[in-house]
C-alpha cells in the first residue's frame, strides 16, 4: 500500500528537455537514471564527511523523516527546507476538530463533494464524550452524519454515553486507538487534527498534527503541502533503571532544549535504551515531541515494532531508516544510567526538576490517564508502585484508561509479582478511584462536568502532557507532569515523590 514510486524515473523527461529551475535551490531534478547530475549544496551544518554512495548514481544521504517524505511526495531526494506536496496515507480527526474540518471540506469542495478515500480516514470521538454538554454531544452527531454520508470505513462511534461498554465501535483516545487498531505503519504518512498525532512516530512513520483548514484540504485531495524538517538526533544508551520510564526521558529532553528547542524539526530517537522500550513506551516518547515544538518524532522500526503489528494490520508496509551518512542538525547523547525521576513543574513542560527536589510540594490529587500516561503499560507501572508499597493513597487518585482495550487490560491482565492480581484490584486496594470511562478526560479540562476536571485551584501530579495555566480546568491549578511511577508514588505520600521511595 505504501507508495514505492520514489525511484521511478519519468522516461519522457529524461535528460533532453530543459529542466526548469525551481525557486528552491535544493530541489534535484526528479528524473535521474544513470546520468549524473550536479550535487547541490545543502544548508544544514554537516555532521560528518559525506562519502559518495557505492550504489551507482550519487545520492545525498537522508534521514528517516526525509526519506518518508521523499517517498510520499514521489521524489527521489529531499532536503530540509523544501516544500513538497505529500500523499497522505491516513488522516485522523476527532470530535473537537472533526466538525470544523468537515465544514471547511464542504465549503471548499462543495456540499456534495466526496472524500478522497473512504478507507484512509479514521474518525475517532475521544475528547469531550462523557458529558451532558449539548454542543459536545452535537459534535459526535456531526461526525456520524458525515461518516454515513461518505461511507467512512473507520468511525469509532459512541451513542450510549451512560455505558461505554455497550458501544462496540467506540475506542477512546485517538492516538492510542490508531495504534491498537493497526492504523500506524512504518514508512507511512499520518496526519491528524491533534497536536499529539506525533505519537505515531513511534512506529517509524511521519506523523504530525495539522489544523482544520489543512485537514479539510486533505479530506478532499489526500495531499498536503509540507515543509521538510531537519532532524535532531537523540541517542540514548544504557540500561533503563527500574525507576525510570519513557516519560522521564522525554521530560529530560524537553527540559534540555526547551518548549521551542525543536520547532519545525524532526526528533529522532535511537540507541540501546530506545531499542529496549516496548511500543507503548516509545509512544510516550514521541507523544511529547510537540511539547518541544517538534514537527514529528521517529523511532526506527525493529522487531519490537513488527511483533506489535503482527496481529493488528495486514496492510503491507516498508520501513525506512536514516542513512549512515545522513545529516542531523544536532545530536544529543544521554547516559540513561545517570538520569533520575523528573517532573515538569507548573506552568511549562520544560520547567524540569528532579522529583526528589520537590518532595515538600503538597499535592491535592493525582491523575493517571491520557495518550501520554493512560496506556496499559502506564497503569501496569502505577500498579507496580502501589503493590510495592502495600499502602493506601493519601489523595484522590483518578484513573482514566485511554481506550476500551486499556480498560479491559486494567481489569484482566495480571500484574507481575502480585500473585495474579489485576491492576484494578491493586488500585482498589490502594484506595484509588474506580477506573473511569476511556477518553481524553480531564487532561485538557473539558466541559465543566468532565470527570476529574480541576474546577478549583489545586495541585495535581499528572501523567499527562501539558501544564499550562488552565490546562486541566482551573486557571490557577498547579500541574506537575510526571511518569506513572512518580504519580503513583506521589499519591501514596500526598507530596511530589520520587518513586525510588517505593521501588
Amino acid at each position: 500500500m505504501a507508495s514505492s514510486s520514489s525511484f521511478i524515473a519519468n522516461k519522457k523527461d529524461l535528460g533532453l528537455s530543459a529542466l526548469s529551475s525551481t525557486s528552491s535551490p535544493f530541489s534535484i531534478p526528479k528524473c535521474r537514471k544513470s546520468i549524473s547530475k550536479k550535487i547541490v549544496s545543502v544548508m544544514a551544518p554537516q555532521q560528518s564527511e559525506r562519502k559518495p554512495a557505492t550504489t551507482g548514481s550519487v545520492k545525498i544521504a537522508m534521514t528517516m523523516t526525509e526519506k518518508i517524505l521523499a517517498r510520499a511526495s514521489e521524489k527521489p531526494q529531499l532536503s530540509p527546507g523544501e516544500n513538497v506536496w505529500v500523499n497522505v496515507d491516513t488522516l485522523m480527526t476527532h470530535d473537537v476538530c472533526g466538525p470544523g474540518s468537515i465544514g471547511i471540506f464542504k465549503r471548499e469542495f462543495g456540499d456534495n463533494a466526496k472524500v478522497w478515500d473512504r478507507e484512509k480516514i479514521v474518525i475517532i470521538p475521544d475528547h469531550y464524550i462523557f458529558t451532558t454538554d449539548e454542543r459536545a454531544n452535537r459534535n459526535v452527531d456531526i461526525l456520524r452524519d458525515f461518516c454515513l454520508e461518505q461511507n467512512i470505513k473507520y468511525f469509532y462511534d459512541i451513542k450510549d454515553l451512560s455505558n461505554f461498554k455497550v458501544n462496540p465501535d467506540y475506542k477512546g483516545v485517538c492516538h492510542i486507538a490508531l495504534a491498537q487498531e493497526g492504523h500506524c505503519r512504518p514508512g507511512e504518512v499520518l496526519l491528524g487534527t491533534d497536536s499529539h498525532t506525533c505519537t505515531a512516530g513511534a512506529f517509524g512513520q511521519f506523523a504530525t498534527g495539522i489544523g482544520n483548514t489543512d485537514a479539510g484540504f486533505v479530506l478532499g485531495t489526500g495531499k498536503l503541502l509540507l515543509k521538510v524538517p531537519p532532524t535532531l538526533r537523540f541517542v540514548m544508551d544504557g540500561e533503563m533503571p527500574d525507576y525510570l520510564l519513557a516519560k522521564d526521558l522525554i521530560l529530560q529532553i524537553i527540559g534540555e532544549i526547551s518548549v521551542s528547542g525543536a520547532t519545525y524539526k524532526s526528533m529522532e530517537f535511537v540507541g540501546t535504551t530506545v531499542e529496549s522500550l516496548n511500543m507503548e513506551e516509545r509512544m510516550t516518547l514521541c507523544n511529547m515531541v510537540v511539547e518541544a515544538g517538534g514537527k514529528n518524532g521517529v523511532v526506527p522500526a525493529d522487531s519490537t515494532t513488527f511483533k506489535y503489528l503482527e496481529d493488528k494490520t495486514s496492510v503491507p508496509y516498508e520501513p525506512v531508516y536514516s542513512d549512515e551518512q545522513a545529516r542531523f542538525l544536532s545530536e544529543y547523547r544521554f547516559d540513561i544510567s545517570k538520569l533520575e525521576p523528573l517532573v515538569a513543574k507548573p506552568h511549562s513542560p520544560d520547567n524540569r526538576a528532579l522529583a526528589r527536589e520537590c518532595k515538600d510540594v503538597k499535592i491535592d490529587r493525582v491523575y493517571i490517564g491520557s495518550c501520554t500516561g493512560g496506556k496499559t503499560e502506564d497503569f501496569m507501572a502505577a500498579a507496580k508502585v502501589f503493590l510495592a508499597s502495600g499502602k493506601k493513597v493519601k489523595v484522590p487518585t483518578f484513573l482514566v484508561p485511554a481506550t476500551q482495550k486499556v480498560w479491559m487490560d486494567v481489569y484482566s491482565l495480571p500484574v507481575p509479582g502480585s500473585g495474579g492480581k489485576t491492576c484494578s484490584q491493586i488500585f482498589e486496594e490502594a484506595g484509588c478511584d474506580t477506573p473511569a470511562n476511556p477518553s481524553c478526560g480531564a487532561c485538557l479540562g473539558g466541559p465543566k462536568d468532565t470527570y476529574a476536571r480541576m474546577n478549583e485551584p489545586m495541585v495535581c501530579v499528572s501523567t499527562t502532557n501539558r501544564n499550562f495555566p488552565g490546562r486541566m480546568g482551573h486557571k490557577e491549578g498547579q500541574i506537575y507532569l510526571a511518569s506513572p511511577y512518580t504519580a503513583a508514588a506521589s499519591a501514596l505520600t500526598g507530596y511530589v515523590t520520587d518513586p525510588r521511595e517505593f521501588l
Binding site: E108, Y128, K223, V259, T263, K295
Partner: protein, 171 residues
Amino acid sequence: MYPSEQKNHPRRVPHSCTLNPAEYEKLGSYALIGLPASYETRFIEPNEMKTKYSIVIGGDNFGCGSSREHAPVSLGAAGVAAVVAESYARIFFRNSVATGEIYPLESEVRICEECKTGDVVTIELAESRLINHTTGKEYKLKPIGDAGPVIEAGGIFAYARKTGMIPSQSG
C-alpha cells in the same frame, strides 16, 4: 496595537472547540481571553466581539500549545490583521498561513517591551518594516519566506487553486 509578552497558549480558548463555522464571530470574542488579570486593558471589551487592536505584538514562541486552529482564527475573527512576534510555535504559524486569517510576521528583535497598548503602528509589508508612530521607532521584520506565496494567495486552498493543484471552485 496590543503587546503581549506572554506566550499565547491557545488552549486557553475555552469550549470554543464546540463552535461551528457559523459561530465564527463568537470565537473572536474569546481571543486572548486567558490573559491574566494583570492585563488591565483587555484585548476585547466585555460584551464586544471585536478588538480595537488590529496588530498584536508578541514575545517568543507565540502560539505555543496546541494544534487547534482556533488560536489564529479567533484572532482573525476578532479583527486582528497581523501578529509580530520574536518567534512562533510551529502549528500556530502553519495554521495562520493555511487559514489566511492573520499575517504572522517575525521581528528581528524583541519588540513587545518597547511598545505600549494603544500605540499606533504601521506595517510596511513590502519593505518588511514596522513603524511605531507613537514612539517614532522603526523595526526590521524578517522576510516571510516560503509561507509568502501561500499567504499572498489567501491560504492553502487559494494557493492550491492558483497553482492548479485543485480545480477552481464552481459557484
